[in-house]
């Protein structure tokens, strides 16, 4: 082979390698990056989904959102979303850790029990939500029947105060086993030498958990915190099925609000503006955790 041919050959090989990734890159350009740019564009128009034409109106939609009638709705939906997120994180981390301690035993029975506790994560939320609504039904629900038997007052879940709790009960059922599995797999990775050394030093089992297991699990806790935060900010399906954002907006989380703006009110322009705020929150959170991780988390080296 002459040098020229060799160079040509190499060039062709590089091109072929590039062609392998090209479909994926084009896809992400079209279905991830272009839509983000499009969001900016739409948010500066007065576009109504039913009409084909629109005008550029500058910052009008952002003025509506931050200074106009949209502001109260924004604060309402952010408050609800953060409240939901807070509880989903608490359930995943605290509940997951407690369950990990309880289910941490090597036996066939326990491994089967763990699988069962973990399974709800893979069940369609809509189908699960339907059965939870029946369990929590005011009149015929078995939960209120049991509460009545033990002498407690029935709980009305379709009220403004309790609707989010109903959604969180479903969430708890879905995610607690996930937290458990993540913690258990991290606990398996901790070298038994630490525990033996601590035992020799006379540490009891609580102290071993407090001073060895917990600190060594801190990267796992951070992982759960970050992933759960992002996942729970996107909550939609359980809200859609169980409450439709109601009653009176009591469960109108941010994605549900965006959905309603775009597909019920047909105000895509406003929906785009709210989406951008939502996106900024997600990005800001990701950037903040990345910065935080660099300093504060103890990694086993």
């Amino acid at each position: 082979m002459t040098t020229e041919k060799k160079i040509n050959y190499r060039r062709r090989e590089k091109l072929k390698d590039f062609l392998c990734v090209l479909p994926a890159v084009i896809f992400f350009a079209l279905f991830v990056y272009y839509p983000i740019l499009k969001l900016f564009q739409i948010s500066f128009t007065n576009w109504n989904l039913i009409s084909d034409t629109y005008k550029y109106v500058g910052l009008k939609n952002f003025k509506w959102l931050f200074q106009g009638s949209g502001f109260a709705s924004l604060i309402n939906s952010l408050t609800i979303t953060f409240r939901y997120t807070f509880w989903e994180i608490v359930i995943t981390i605290a509940g997951g850790l407690l369950l990990a301690a309880l289910f941490n035993r090597e036996s066939k029975v326990f491994s089967a029990l763990r699988s069962i506790v973990f399974m709800p994560r893979y069940i369609a939320i809509s189908a699960s939500a339907i059965v939870f609504m029946w369990i929590l039904n005011d009149q015929y629900g078995i939960l209120n029947y049991v509460l009545g038997v033990i002498g407690l007052k029935p709980i009305m879940f379709n009220t403004e105060e309790n609707a989010l709790t109903a959604v969180l009960i479903l969430t708890c059922w879905r995610v607690i086993g996930y937290g458990m599995m993540i913690y258990l797999s991290a606990m398996k990775g901790i070298s038994p030498e630490y525990y033996e050394a601590a035992k020799l030093d006379g540490a009891n089992s609580f102290q071993r958990f407090r001073f060895i297991t917990l600190p060594l699990l801190s990267p796992t806790t951070l992982f759960l915190f970050v992933t759960t935060f992002i996942a729970s900010m996107k909550v939609f399906q359980s809200i859609d099925v169980m409450t439709s954002g109601g009653p009176y907006g009591a469960t109108e989380v941010i994605v549900y609000w965006i959905y309603e703006l775009a597909f019920v009110d047909f105000r895509v322009d406003r929906a785009a503006a709210v989406t951008l705020v939502f996106f900024v929150i997600l990005m800001g959170f990701t950037a903040a955790t990345m910065k935080f991780t660099e300093r504060n988390i103890y990694y086993e080296s």
Binding site: K14, D17, F18, L19, C20, V21, P23, A24, V25, F27, F28, L30, F31, V32, Y33, Y34, P35, I36, K38, L39, I42, L102, F103, V109, L113, I116, V117, F118, P120, Y122, I123, A124, I125, S126, A127, S128, I130, F132, W134, I135, I142, W173, G177, M181, I182, S185, A186, F223, K234, Q237, D240, V241, I258, A272, T275, F278, F279, L282, M283, T286
Partner: protein, 289 residues
């Protein structure tokens, strides 16, 4: 002296037995609580309407009404929903695996300028969920007249950054010597990917395929945006529409609604039981990242 030691030993063994007993007890009770909604779904789906309205709920159907599973198909085109879901799931799975494998090859074994920057572009997509992009994507799909079509359901999910990331990690772990040997044999990239890399990375491939299958089967958000009629509705979405179709009469028809829910979740439960090994390994891989 000796006796005292023996007594304290016996005591220690006893407390350990007690602890084990309570660990089993609490773990089993907790598991039963988790199982209860599944149980309740199945039991409710077999009750008669009169039994649903009793003031005291029955834990076991007085009379098994298997017909609920027949009647529910008259209320909603569940067969169509299931067929739609199967077609969408197969489409999404196939495209994600094929396009993902090529991309993973390029990002792990390929050599071309700008590779790492493009990989960051792909990883960046992980941070942009569909909940952020759905309005513009809806607009695109509507312009293409893809609402209520399989193209509209499948194409926006045809590539997954998560799949590419997972496959790249495993492809990277394959020794370059295999690739070089194959190249000397005159094998092209397609052969290298499908006859060497994929067979060598079977466990990860299986995990990724199963997770994609489950996600696709349960898909709700995008199908809700991309379909407006029952024509192309998927089952997870359809089961909620089924409930809504009883508007006002939901309580006495809970048996049929639950039958629909059981039909929705049974395939996934079977899959989970049969293939949980792969689901769990993929899962610990993610957790250790």
């Amino acid at each position: 002296m000796l006796k005292q030691k023996e007594i304290s030993n016996i005591k220690a063994i006893r407390t350990r037995h007690m602890l084990t007993f309570f660990q089993y007890l609490f773990a089993i009770v907790f598991t039963l609580i988790i199982v209860f909604p599944f149980y309740w779904m199945i039991i409710t789906s077999l009750k008669t309407s009169e039994e649903l309205l009793r003031p005291v709920p029955t834990l076991w159907p007085l009379k098994f009404q298997w017909n609920n599973y027949v009647d529910v198909f008259k209320m909603a085109p569940l067969g169509q929903y299931i067929l739609n879901t199967i077609i969408m799931t197969i489409g999404v799975m196939t495209l994600q695996i094929i396009i993902g494998s090529f991309a993973a090859y390029g990002f792990s074994k390929g050599k071309f300028p700008g590779r790492d920057i493009l990989f960051i572009v792909v990883l960046g997509a992980l941070m942009v969920p569909i909940q952020v992009t759905f309005v513009p994507i809806y607009v695109m799909i509507a312009k293409l007249k893809w609402i209520n079509t399989f193209a509209g359901l499948i194409v926006p999910n045809a590539v997954s950054a998560y799949t590419i990331f997972m496959l790249r990690q495993t492809f990277k772990s394959v020794d370059d010597a295999f690739i070089e040997a194959a190249q000397l044999e005159g094998l092209g990239r397609i052969d290298i990917i499908f006859r060497i890399l994929i067979p060598l990375c079977k466990p990860t491939m299986l995990t990724v395929t199963i997770i994609t299958f489950i996600d696709s089967w349960n898909a709700y958000f995008w199908p809700k945006i991309a379909t407006t009629t029952p024509l192309r509705r998927t089952i997870a979405l359809g089961v909620y529409e089924l409930k809504r179709s009883y508007a006002g009469l939901e309580t006495m028809n809970q048996n049929q609604i639950m039958a629909g829910a059981v039909i929705t979740i049974v395939p996934i439960i079977i899959l989970f039981i049969l293939l949980q090994k792969y689901i769990l390994t993929g899962f610990s891989k993610v957790a250790s990242k």
